[in-house]
Amino acid sequence: VSTGVALERRSRVARTGVAKVQSLSHQRGRAVQLCNVGIAQGTRFPPKHMIIAPLLTALLLYPASTPAAAADVSRILTSYEQGDHAAALSELAAVSDFTALRKQFEDSGRRWVNADPSNRERRRLVAAVVALEAAHLAVNDRTAFKRLLEWGCTLIRRGSADAPERTWHLAAVALIQRSYDGRFLLDHLRHAESRFPGEPRFLLARAVNAEYRIWPAPKNPVATTEARASASGGLVLPVGMIPTLRHASDMAAWRLIPRLEELKGEPGIGPEVRMRLGHLYYRIGLFERAERELELAAELSTDPHVLFLARYFRGLLRESLGDHTGAIAAHSRALEFAPGAQSASIALASLLFSSDRRDEATRRLSRGLLVPGARDPWLLYQAGDYRSWPALIDELRARSQ
């Protein structure tokens, strides 16, 4: 509009246009139409204005603050505090500008927390949890996502390091893992670990982050001997071969192994660590070790996510060894823990198909496999704890009432 005002002095059309844009400030569509008309009537503009007119159009195309972006944060927080999560979430879901929302959190959110001094601790938790919910919706808007979580983190760390705060950090870590922003994850883990030193899930999150940096895993790796791999520090190269990025990635995987070996004994995360360790051993070709770890993970765990992945990786491993029968059995077993998981289903169907068991392969594929929404632990493998997000946010909702 300011560009238009500059034009206003020189052009009658621009003057008229600016006036109309101002009067139709909430009707962007019509305003843009108006400017397009102005451009079409370009002969009435001096050449300089011909250049500026598209700029005016671009200016008008810039998204204005929508009513949804101007959500009332105080009302959202109050609804959430009163247990009306649905109302609060629907209002958050209507937000299109999360940057504006974050600014509102900083202004009216803080005021809302301080408005009731006797209830400040709980209000602080409520505001931090709502920021978490908003960040979940803004996961594709990186800046707003980070700012919302940082605001919530700062807020919740003002109280004592209690169980709700621990849950909040676990949920935040899960969410950041879902955004695959490794640097931000490490930043947040520093804050979280300063409050809860030695928390096993935070240690595991660091290892998962390191593993993500060497993503994706190679397909059908080749088996090697332990002595050979150890002697070369993970760099297994035929004589005369120049190391490539692929080899560097395998070396990084090799370096990650000691960290996971240390975590095997941590309470609560042992089976998951073994499962991930088994996958790492598999990708660098130490199949015997891999199989041992995967078997132990399957024995020790009761988590369907871990049970599925341990069996699924074992299926891939057996296939790499040429044992199709073993691979089919392992994938079938994996699917007992996550029926319809696409990864194991396609792996199993392709093995059956290649073994001329077409009808079985077709049956596997026809069970609603290609319908989005089916749970597949493999797709969440690199997202770490994000699989626990529903449970964690439910717990926080219950605590914040």
Binding site: W215, P216, K219, N220, Q342, A349, S350, F353, L369, W378
Partner: protein, 342 residues
């Protein structure tokens, strides 16, 4: 008329006289004899591409070892089932409009009797439109892009889709070929392609942005174009390079469902079914032997039991080899693939 009536009367009397003099034959079972036309639809494929220009002389139908006369060959045109795969992962998110145009070109080529379905590739392989008739002008708008690429998984899922008895199955996959999260590798995909009844055409496009291209430097990100071309060739299809730097002539939208794919050779045999031994054995035999580099789809008509076994031989146009096999025709899957030896 008088002479004719006298002749008939004489004939009748003569017959009665012979009947009176002849001894009574022993009681033997009487069979009604006749000719049954058996239609044996058959498709001869070389790497999933029909072998055309076959004549009656190229077919021998053996019914339990008894050679049957092939009366006529009736070439037919088969409708096509098209599985359209569109890569909507992060690496192609910037060219979805172009992919939609290419998809529209392919769908516009379909005949009213054809069918199509649409699958998308990202982290998850999704069937966004199930197999359906081309009733109106088919429209397809790819969903918003993003995520990782399960290219090999999508191709395998499409190639394993069973073909209908009376239709061809063509898979047209528009992708940049970058795979980051598939379960299966190229080796397994090759095995699937060898056995698939579908013809795969890969339409290769460039990644949509420089940042996506730089992802190719990441270790273990697969983009084995030669491997993909080999997989397509194994099914009788090919890889079409639609990247901008390729000659404009090759960038044109291709007619993937070509008429050649629609053609089939249907052999109709006329058999004299006096040989009851052969006929009954035909119903009970269950042997399957086959060895050839050709693939053959044989469809048994209702004239033969649904679970019957029949044999036939095909001499291919080059005349170098005579091919023969015996096929068990399943109740539902009569188009069982008989041979997949490389």
């Amino acid at each position: 008329v008088t002479r004719c009536a006298a002749g008939i009367a004489g004939g009748v009397l003569l017959a009665q006289a012979f009947a009176a003099q002849a001894p009574q034959p022993p009681t033997v079972p009487m069979f009604k004899s006749g000719t049954v036309d058996v239609v044996v639809p058959v498709t001869v494929l070389s790497r999933n591409v029909p072998v055309l220009d076959l004549t009656v002389a190229d077919f021998d139908i053996m019914d339990n070892g008894v050679r049957q006369r092939v009366r006529e060959l009736d070439p037919r045109t088969l409708p096509v089932d098209v599985t359209l795969i569109v890569d909507t992962s992060g690496s192609t998110a910037g060219i979805l409009d172009r992919l939609a145009r290419e998809a529209g070109n392919i769908l516009a080529d379909l005949h009213p009797t054809d069918r199509y379905r649409v699958m998308t590739i990202n982290s998850f392989v999704t069937e966004v439109m199930p197999m359906q008739a081309v009733s109106a002008v088919p429209l397809f708008h790819p969903p918003a892009g993003g995520g990782m690429s399960a290219v090999y998984d999508a191709l395998a899922a499409a190639l394993m889709h069973p073909a209908m008895l009376d239709r061809r199955h063509v898979v047209a996959a528009m992708t940049d070929g970058i795979d980051t999260i598939s379960t299966i590798g190229l080796a397994r995909l090759r095995e699937v392609a060898k056995r698939s009844e579908a013809v795969l055409h890969v339409l290769l496009v460039a990644p949509s942005s420089p940042s996506n291209r730089s992802n190719l430097l990441l270790p273990h990100v697969e983009r084995d174009l030669a491997g993909l071309a080999e997989v397509a060739a194994l099914t009788g299809g090919r890889l079409h390079d639609l990247r901008p730097r390729v000659d404009a002539k090759r960038r044109r939208s291709l007619s993937y469902c070509s008429d050649a794919l629609r053609c089939a050779d249907a052999a109709a045999s006329s058999r004299s079914s006096d040989d009851r031994t052969a006929w009954s054995a035909l119903r009970t035999s269950s042997s399957i032997t086959c060895s050839s580099r050709w693939r053959c789809r044989a469809i048994c008509s209702a004239a033969i039991s649904a679970r019957a076994t029949f044999a036939f031989a095909v001499r291919l146009p080059n005349g170098s080899s005579t091919w023969s096999c015996t096929s068990a025709v399943g109740k539902r899957r009569a188009n069982r693939l008989l041979s997949d030896a490389p």
